[in-house]
Symmetry: C2
Subunit: 156 residues, 2 copies
């Protein structure tokens, strides 16, 4: 996904404006950090990365901005076993960012994987269709987690 459009503005500016939201320094910085991020970040992580660039942005703003972005569908929020929330830019099931998680139940490490997207897609297509019909539920997103023991923990 290109970072900027023809006029040099980041791709999300229009999205914000389209929702009647203001493009503030804080929001710019937070979206910038999320765009650069190679993996899911906690609110604290984001705060730590935004703060040096934009010291006027506090942790509260980070939380409030993330809530807005999640509601817009721009960002995914997920929670693993420890109850802490993690955030990452949203992406459809075919996009390069699409991935799922292996979670070590012992050391709590989270490994991203991008394998099996094709098999997954096939299964999900069936499931989503059936579920939305049976439960009258509009599916916008899905998450798959495998729990178990990571390489280090299983050998100790």
């Amino acid at each position: 996904m290109p970072r900027n459009n023809r006029r040099g503005s980041p791709w999300w500016q229009g999205q914000l404006r389209g929702c009647g939201l203001r493009v503030t320094l804080g929001r710019k910085a937070i979206l910038d950090v999320l765009t650069r991020a190679e993996k899911h970040l906690s609110a604290e992580d984001i705060y730590m990365r935004v703060h040096p660039l934009c010291p006027s942005v506090g942790l509260t703003t980070v939380y409030r901005t993330l809530e807005v972005l999640v509601n817009m569908g721009l960002v995914n929020k997920m929670v693993f076993g420890d109850g802490r929330a993690w955030y990452e830019l949203a992406a459809g099931p075919r996009k390069e960012r699409h991935h799922h998680h292996l979670i070590c139940t012992k050391c709590k490490r989270v490994i991203d994987y991008t394998d099996f997207i094709d098999e997954e897609l096939e299964f999900l297509k069936k499931a989503e269709k059936g579920l939305s019909k049976k439960y009258h539920f509009d599916i916008t997103n899905h998450e798959i987690q495998f729990n178990g023991l990571c390489e280090k923990c299983r050998s100790s």
Copy 2:
């Protein structure tokens, strides 16, 4: 799964003893509540159901017991978007309890579904095999969530 073995003791007694753990009143009551539960419960839920039967059991014990049971693999702990933990008796992918979740992003309602177990199994078998080989990860469990809008929320 039968609730009691030939001698009338609940099925989990041996499991506890086998791990060198004591079979206390509190643990009995908590496991009993979990066995009867028709869906996932929060720690608070469990406390509320255990307390009338066994008023000496406090919330702290509920948490400590749940931690033990999760570590033993007897109970699954899961966390949805709100950061609260939910608990339910564990069950393998073929067992009657096996199910996954539809989560409404608006009202936070969680719907259990048991459909598509066969298609799921096929996909999971491939994925688990490949993932455990590639990442040297021992998979013991998995979770699938579909996020979206429930019937009520999508029409309002």
